[in-house]
């Protein structure tokens, strides 16, 4: 009978469609007609056999409907509005009935409320009814009351506290079923306060005479120790006692309780490991070898749930303990080899066993066994089994990467599975498997698959491929090739920072410029829908358009292509006209056109026409650029070619630092006692840094957000307004502070659009990279002399001056300067340069004490603006003798990336102690020798 029922359930329930005569199957399908008929029949049944089992008709004059009728009425509703109306009516009736304190209908009302609650309507007004029912004496009332409590309330509601007392009484009730109800409710919804209050009762019930109460108490204890881990100590002994039980329910709940105890309490773990490992191994042995028990049998295994829980607890005990692990080796081997793997239950045990083997202390033989099981799982036809195999292989990687690598081909196949869950797992796994040796074939496979994968999966897949390519790329050409393929297939899924990184790489691979631009040109012809491909292509064509036309830098692997200047302009024109592409792309295209107008003088007129078309654009950005560019092409022929010169090589290192979200390394510290610096290591907050960097006094106070930080950095360059008018630029103050700052910094306007096209899509951090690069790219840099005559902003103005380029010094020494002097401290700088490296200045700082007191713990800190790099060597000492009787020296090395344009600037902070009293001084140096910076 037992097994037949099982079969029936499986047939009727699992297969659903089937042969004739399966009455049960029909019922499961439940067409509307049958539903009604069925319901009718059941209603009759109910009336005949169980007259009002739940809701006896006590008051024939009551107007309330029965639960069954309410459910029918709700089900009969055709629209949501109808349903709401019925529910509203019912709720009103229930409220009235509650207000009348109607004893007889209390549980019917609550049952109705539970149904209404399940439909998603508010039912908070019924909460008090639950408490009243729980407080009544009879079992039926309590039963429905506790059910309502668990359904309508959760642990965060205050009302719950009111039930603590009833719970306490019920936990001590003479009727074991009432005790069971209370335990169940407590286990499902108790809060930390209730856990504390009722823990002694539950602890006592762990030894209750009836096993069904013991098992409930065990699970309830789990909830209690999770809520209040401090209480776990009291549960260790009674929980351990449960491990010796024969009753399966008590045993599995006891094991579960022990597992959770081990998680929250190291003492419990230690205790159980010492005293119970052997016992548990024996229990598992008995379970594995147990004869057929119909009551617990699932697919030929007696109680797989027990097996799994035992394996889980053994895993916890064996982890990190060689002796315990040793004790369980044999039985694990037996489970791994003997368990039948045809049915799900057996596989569930094997899966748990593999996890245990992987987690406990190393035993080579067992691990081979485990990996083999996973290999078998992986080739299983059942998707569930393959899913768990992938899941487990992820954990196995840390244990035995080599063994997992062997299954690489199969795992790669799983990436292409039709099941999203499996795909996701497999992709994670492949990602973890990639290394330098297999990156090329794996990437190829993944990108091949990208072509055919589902739209929903493309985002994930693209992310992972990009990340793999960036991380493991063996050479630049491969990187560029792979990225172009990805852009080609899934350009719309590529994140901004990825294509930004690609541009940086392209820019730095100068021997590949021609190759890249040609490849992009070809790709554009086929995939002009892929936004980020278009952006990269437009940028590259703008920069390297001439290489495209002239086939410059041809690699052996390439076929020459014939592209005319006008073809090139066509590409940009398509991009700018394409309706689906966004503002950033169009802005980039405009910029590219301007660049091309200089590269291809013959197309200049045509380019002008395209640019002019945008002067009526509704987008302010495009409109403005179009007007500006137009005027450059028309009126400023002379400077145009200089303006739109090729971008200098972008600095990869800077870019990746920015990307990683790190603050620029502007703060350097003195050596020696540098650990307790006020603005550094211990509490990394941006504010002090900003403060130090804020060299220009006329800017508003810095704030710590990234954007402002940037402004402050750039604030160095900012001169008060008058410069602007003289430049004849169409700059408008206030559009974008950043841009304006930059436009001023590099006097010629054309270079600012380069920045702008990149800006809108970039986050706060990245623009700096381009900004820096751009400012140094200015074609006028040759003329720009930076002078340290006055304030730094003067340099900018001087940029326009006719002053000739200063000849570069090859290794020279400059007169010493007093960098700082206060009533107590003087610092002098002796600067020098090494031959052949004019960008780097070596400074020896000498500290002199002007007071009659000794300075101790002297720390010198310095900060420089972004275009400088500062390196501080340790100071010769941190104690400065009094009254100039000796000095400290410290070497600094400053590298100026804007050498020739900007002069050195430094802000410094000195902290020291006089008689253990902290002193702090700050100063700024902008009077470096003129030719030092340039």
């Amino acid at each position: 009978m037992e097994s037949r029922l099982l079969v029936m359930v499986v047939v009727m329930v699992v297969e659903e469609k089937g042969k004739e005569g399966g009455h049960n199957k029909e019922r499961w399908r439940g067409s509307e007609e049958e539903e009604e008929e069925e319901e009718e029949k059941r209603r009759k049944d109910q009336q005949q056999h169980t007259p009002g089992i739940l809701f006896p008709i006590m008051n024939p004059f009551s107007s309330g409907t029965r639960l069954r009728d309410m459910i029918r009425a709700i089900r009969a509703c055709k629209t949501a509005a109808e349903e709401r109306a019925v529910v509203r009516k019912e709720c009103a009736a229930i409220r009235t009935s509650m207000n009348e304190n109607d004893q007889d209908y209390r549980h019917r009302n609550l049952a109705k409320l539970m149904f209404i609650h399940m439909l998603g309507y508010p039912t908070h007004f019924g909460q008090m009814e639950c408490l009243k029912l729980i407080a009544s004496a009879g079992f039926p009332e309590k039963r429905i009351g506790y059910l309502g409590l668990m359904l309508l309330l959760d642990e965060r509601q205050e009302v719950l506290m009111l039930v603590t007392n009833s719970l306490k009484q019920d936990l001590n009730h003479s009727n074991q079923y009432i005790v069971g109800l209370a335990l169940c409710a407590l286990g499902n919804i108790c809060s930390a306060e209730m856990a504390r209050d009722l823990a002694p009762e539950v602890e006592r019930l762990l030894q209750f005479r009836d096993p069904n109460v013991r098992k409930k108490a065990a699970l309830c204890s789990i909830r209690i120790i999770k809520k209040v881990p401090d209480l776990s100590e009291n549960f260790i002994n009674p929980a351990a006692a449960l491990l010796k039980e024969k009753h399966h329910g008590v045993l599995i709940t006891g094991i579960q309780l022990c597992t959770d105890l081990c998680k929250v309490s190291p003492e419990a773990l230690e205790f159980l490991r010492k005293k119970h490992t052997d016992g548990l191994v024996k229990t598992l042995k008995d379970a594995v070898n147990s004869p057929y028990k119909p009551e617990y049998d699932i697919a030929g295994i007696a109680d797989p749930f027990l097996h799994i829980r035992l394996l889980k607890l053994l895993r916890v005990l064996g982890q990190g303990d060689a002796d315990a692990s040793d004790a369980m080796n044999d039985i694990l081997a037996q489970v791994a080899t003997k368990t039948e793997s045809k049915k799900n239950a057996g596989n569930a045990i094997l899966y748990e066993c593999v996890e245990t083997i992987m987690s406990i202390e190393d035993n080579g033989g067992l691990r081979v066994l485990a990996i083999n099981i996973l290999g078998r799982f992986l080739s299983n036809r059942d998707n569930n089994i393959r899913y768990v195999a992938l899941n487990m292989l992820m954990k196995a990687i840390t244990v035995d990467a080599q063994a997992v690598q062997r299954h690489r081909a199969t795992i790669l196949e799983c990436v292409k599975d039709s099941d999203a869950s499996i795909q996701k797992r497999a992709l994670e796994l492949v990602y973890a498997l990639v290394n330098e040796t297999n990156v090329k074939p794996l990437t190829k496979e993944l990108i091949d698959y990208l072509e055919v994968s589902d739209q929903e999966f493309k985002g994930d897949l693209t992310d992972k491929i990009c990340s793999i390519v960036e991380k493991f790329s063996p050479e630049k050409i491969w990187y560029i090739d792979q990225m172009l393929r990805v852009l080609n297939e899934a350009g719309n899924f590529v994140k901004d920072e990825v294509w930004h990184a690609l541009i940086v790489v392209i820019s730095s691979a100068s021997d590949l410029h021609g190759y890249t631009v040609r490849a992009l040109y070809k790709a554009f012809q086929t995939s002009s829908e892929q936004e980020s491909l278009v952006r990269v292509a437009v940028w590259c064509i703008g920069e390297y358009g001439d290489m495209l036309v002239n086939n410059v830098g041809m690699l052996d692997i390439e076929d020459p292509i014939m592209v005319t200047e006008s073809d090139t302009v066509d590409v940009i024109k398509i991009a700018i006209k394409h309706h689906a592409l966004d503002l950033t792309t169009k802005a980039m295209a405009l910029m590219a056109l301007l660049k091309l107008s200089s590269r291809f003088p013959s197309c200049s007129e045509r380019i002008k026409d395209i640019i002019v078309q945008h002067k009526g654009s509704f987008v302010l950005e495009l409109q403005q650029r179009s007007l500006e560019f137009n005027s450059i092409i028309e009126k400023h022929q002379k400077i145009r070619s200089a303006l739109v010169e090729r971008m200098p090589i972008l600095d990869e290192a800077t870019f990746s630092t920015r990307r990683a979200g790190l603050l620029p390394a502007a703060v350097s510290t003195s050596g020696g006692a540098s650990l307790d610096l006020p603005n550094g290591v211990a509490k990394p907050s941006a504010a002090p840094l900003v403060d130090l960097l804020d060299l220009s006094d006329d800017l508003p106070a810095p704030s710590s957000s990234d954007g402002d930080f940037l402004q402050d950095l750039l604030g160095v360059d900012l001169s008060p307004a008058p410069t602007q008018s003289g430049l004849g630029q169409i700059q408008k103050a206030g559009t974008d502070v950043l841009l304006d700052l930059l436009s001023i910094g590099t006097p010629v306007q054309s270079s600012s659009p380069t920045t702008e096209i990149l800006l809108p899509s970039q986050n706060d951090k990245s623009p700096i990279a381009t900004l820096d690069a751009r400012s140094s790219s200015s074609s006028l840099s040759a003329q720009a002399t930076s002078s340290a005559r006055a304030a730094p902003m003067m340099d900018l103005l001087d940029g326009f001056g006719p002053s000739p380029l200063k000849p570069e010094d090859n290794g020279s020494v400059y007169p010493s300067l007093v960098a700082f002097e206060s009533s107590s401290l003087r610092i002098t700088f002796n600067s020098s340069k090494q031959p052949g490296n004019p960008q780097t200045t070596l400074i020896q700082a000498t500290f002199t004490n002007l007071t009659p007191n000794v300075f101790t713990d002297l720390i010198f800190q310095a900060a420089v603006p972004k275009f400088l790099q500062l390196h501080l060597d340790p100071a010769s000492s941190n104690i400065l003798p009094a009254s100039g009787n000796g000095s400290i020296t410290q070497n600094l090395r400053v590298t100026n990336s804007q050498h020739g344009k900007k002069s050195l600037l430094m802000r410094m902070r000195m902290s020291y102690k006089i008689d253990n009293k902290d002193m702090l001084e700050e100063g700024q140096i902008n009077n470096f020798p003129q030719d030092l910076g340039s």
């Binding site: 019922r27 739940l54 149904f115 069904n212 799994i308 899966y351 748990e352």
Partner: protein, 161 residues
């Protein structure tokens, strides 16, 4: 640990919910909406696991009903499938070839059954027979109480006639 149990019909109607972790009413409806969207649209041959918000949902379809249990990342998915089946078989025995309508009109009984199988999101009893016996015993307690009540009310009715 099982975070929650959901029974959803093929049409997306909720037939039973049980929450073992605190979710507010708002979160609950959101979770149900989200999950029914994901699960009901999955094809029949796919695996029974869905990864969701760092947890996993194990689901299994029985005729018109989807039984879903949400578990932690490191729980045994295959075992949860067995727990679901365990639950279904017990329901089947209790109602005698259970169907969706049984669970609609006797939803409270389905909850009573579930409470004998799971507490605090952990399995309580691996024997179907024991569960059946416990439910039957409690049902008969209810019945006795009702009979007593009705006989008392009869007596009162008689007496006050």
């Amino acid at each position: 640990m099982i975070q929650f149990v959901l029974l959803i019909s093929r049409q997306g109607k909720v037939r039973l919910t049980k929450w073992y972790s605190p979710y507010t009413q708002k979160e609950r409806s959101k979770v149900i909406r989200e999950l029914s969207g994901v699960i009901l649209t999955r094809g029949p041959k796919l695996c029974n696991f869905v990864e969701w918000r760092g947890l996993k949902v194990v689901y299994k379809r029985y005729a018109s009903l989807y039984f879903c249990m949400c578990i932690d990342q490191d729980d045994n998915e295959l075992e949860v499938l067995e727990i679901i089946h365990h639950f279904v078989e017990i329901l089947d025995r209790y109602f005698g070839s259970v169907c969706e309508l049984d669970l609609i009109f006797n939803f409270h009984k389905a909850y009573y059954v579930l409470d004998e199988i799971l507490i605090a999101g952990e399995l309580q009893e691996s024997s179907k027979k024991t569960v059946a016996r416990l439910i039957a015993a409690q049902d008969s307690l209810v019945e006795t109480a009702k009979e007593q009540a009705s006989s008392i009310s009869n007596i009162i009715a008689q007496a006050t006639k």
